[in-house]
Structure formats: structure tokens, C-alpha cells
Point group: C2
Chain length 202, copies 2
DNA sequence: TCAATTTCTTATCTTTTGTTAACGTTTTGA
DNA sequence: TCAAAACGTTAACAAAAGATAAGAAATTGA
């Protein structure tokens, strides 16, 4: 896949949020970059500022933390989704999260400086404010549900809900990543799966 | 406190996000309403659409869910903070969260319709897009930290961190609310407190 | 291809948390 | 003011989860 194709995919996706005139799109594309990550390469690294806001044209990434030397996965993003260590990107402070490609992954990135330049550019400012608002609102809604799941549901209930709503995650991620994503250990998830399946067999 | 005083407080706070000219503030204030909630009155109710985005001029609220008939507190907001069932407000879908005043509370509210009107008003549109973006980004950053705390920390670690950063919550909320906010039961929080204090005494 | 690594399950044991109930204290509100 | 309700702690027991290790199966990558 070449950059031109990636930009077509990007534009199609972005138009869920804002539509661009030819002139606006021309100006916009001058601020983005097309990159690739090989499997296991990092998009963001803990203790550094994440200065890009990316869009996954193809591939997938996982978010993870190193806690007492252990690798703890907290989230995933797939093709046709954005990725960034958002707080770090917005506040220009070091992130605590690694973001790693799980396969050959193609991205289109907006750097922090490019984002600021677009916000200061009369041709793009209003659309970029709106775009930034709608994207932040979208992820806010996702986070609201996720926090509620930790407060109101048991690990088993969270897994049962994932079975209904998490096709990409379930089919494409190893179980020990999913376990940490649910806030439990891999051994515990294995037991939960056994608890759920056994009554069906009997 | 009267509405005029409340508006001064509101404007001072909002100017952390955007500044208003006299004309803009004039137009803006025509879209907001000043209201009061008595103790235990609700700002939002589960299974209904939350159609306001509020600012707490004074007082405080808690967010809670009813799970199997039990009251589970998930969050708090205090004076000089916004409050809303944000996802419900943005998506116009029923919320699953109750928001209840914990004391006599004064608010300034923006209704969903007022927000849309301001976004469509040439005088205010750009500032409101920016305001909406910055507010959403701010809460996104808070949520990012909170989700990370559930993935990477034990309940005891979350409580220890709250001891360092949660003065308002610790001083103004009963312990059983704090327990559910941390994702555990009140009995469990009582034990954690005992574990933490005992080594100090010995 | 084939050894190394990763992944998942299972078992054992420990620790933590949940559940329920009781008790004393504090707060509330009529 | 005073009874009722709310609050925090503790105990006892059950359930769940964490830690560690072992082993089998699947996957990987040189």
C-alpha cells in the first residue's frame, strides 16, 4: 500500500467527523506523514513524550505498562482507529505507556506541532477544533463505559460482556493480553473461562 | 448567592479554557441557566437522557449506579468543576448513572439545545468548538489515569494514591462512597486502612 | 525443519476480597 | 430533643484472585 491509498482511507474515515473541501484537504495533507511500523516496533515509549496522534491505516497495536518488571497490557487499537498516548500528546508530558505494533502496521500521523499549526491556520482552524472536539468526545464516551465496568462489574462479568462486544480483541489477541486488559491475571482468566464453560457441558 | 455572582464565578473559571469578549459573553450568557439543587436532589437520573452540561458554582455531587438493588458510588464532583453524564449528554442516549447533590448546590447549566445553538451561532461557534474540545480533552486525561489505575494498581495502591491526591474526596465523602469509587466494598476498605495503619503503631 | 519461545491450562498454596451480621458511634431530621 | 438512620469497624466464613510452578500444545523464527 502506498501513501496515496492510505490518504484515501484516512480521508474516508475522517469524514465521519468532519468533511473537507478540496482546498482544506490539500492544506491538511501537508501536515500529516505516512509511516510504517514493523512487528514489535514502538509507536510510543514510556518516560518520553508522545508527540504524534496516529491513525492505523492497517495493522494493530497494543498499549502496555511495565509494572515491577512485568508487562501489563491495558488496551488495543486496530486498523481504522486512532492511536496515541493521548494525555502525553495533549499535555506534552512523558507517558507511562508503551504502544507497540503487533504486526506490520501502516499509520498516518499528525505531530503535535502540525496540530498546533493547523489550529493556527485560518483555512483549517475551525475544522480542526471541531475534529479535535469530536475525537476527544468519542474517546471520552469509551472511557466512561470502561470506568463504569470496573466499578459495577466483576471480572467475570467484564469477560462475559467482552464476549458479546469484543470480536476483534477476542479473535486477534492472545488470552494473557486480554486478561490484563480486563484487570486480572492470565491464570485468573483461564479459571473464569472454565467456570463459564463447565455448566454448559454438564 | 445570586445569578450575577454565579456568572462571575463561571466566567472566571471558563477563562481557563477560552476568553470571551464582552459581546461574546453577552451572547453566551443568554444560553445558560442558573439553578439550585437541594441536598439529595438529582441532576441526572438513570434511564433518562441527561440533557444538561453543568458547572458547580457551589456544593458537590456524587455519581452512582444501582446494581442489583445496591447503591454503588462511582465518582464525585465539587464546586468549580463541571458535571454531566457526559456520554448521555453528547449522544442523547439514556444514562446509566444517577448524579445527586450531596448538599445545597448551585449550578450553571448549558442544555444540549443551547450548546447546539451556540455551535451554530457565528459569534460563538469557534469559541464553543474550542471550549468543547478543551473540556473533553481535560476529562479524557483524567479518565486515562483512572483506567490505568485499575489496570496497574491494587486496591490498596489506589487508596494510598488517593491519600496523596484526593483531599476533597477524603475529607468530604463518607468512607463507603470512597470504597466503591476505588472499586471495592466498604468492608474491604476498612481492612485496607487497618493494614496500612497497624505497621505504624507497632 | 526443529529447537526455542509463547501460550494456555491446571494444581497448590497464600492472600485478598466479598458476604453477612453484629455492635457501638455519629449524624440526621422530624 | 430524641428516635431513626447512617456510618465505620470487626468477626467469621466463603469465594475469588494472586503467585508460583509444571507440563502440554501451538507458534515462531532462524
Amino acid at each position: 500500500m502506498d501513501a496515496a491509498t492510505a490518504l484515501i482511507i484516512y480521508r474516508t474515515y475522517l469524514e465521519r467527523y468532519v468533511t473537507f473541501s478540496t482546498e482544506e484537504w490539500e492544506a491538511f495533507t501537508q501536515h500529516v506523514t505516512f509511516t510504517k511500523l514493523k512487528k514489535k516496533q514502538h509507536f510510543a515509549t514510556a518516560d518520553t513524550v508522545c508527540d504524534k496522534f496516529g491513525f492505523l491505516v492497517s495493522g494493530s497495536v497494543r498499549y502496555y505498562h511495565i509494572i515491577n518488571g512485568e508487562d501489563i497490557t491495558s488496551y488495543f487499537s486496530f486498523e481504522q482507529e486512532f492511536t496515541s498516548s493521548y494525555k502525553s500528546f495533549l499535555t506534552r508530558t512523558p507517558t507511562i505507556t508503551y504502544i507497540q505494533a503487533l504486526e506490520e502496521t501502516r499509520l498516518i500521523n499528525i505531530s503535535y506541532d502540525a496540530f498546533q499549526q493547523m489550529l493556527a491556520n485560518p483555512i483549517l482552524a475551525h475544522k480542526m477544533e471541531r475534529f479535535g472536539r469530536l475525537v476527544a468526545e468519542h474517546y471520552l464516551c469509551c472511557y466512561e463505559d470502561r470506568v463504569a465496568s470496573f466499578i459495577t462489574q466483576s471480572p467475570e462479568e467484564r469477560y462475559l460482556q467482552l464476549l458479546q462486544t469484543g470480536r476483534d480483541i477476542l479473535q486477534r489477541m492472545p488470552q494473557h493480553y486480554i486478561a490484563h486488559f480486563l484487570g486480572i491475571t492470565p491464570v485468573s482468566l483461564s479459571r473464569i473461562r472454565k467456570r463459564i464453560l463447565e455448566p454448559v457441558i454438564k
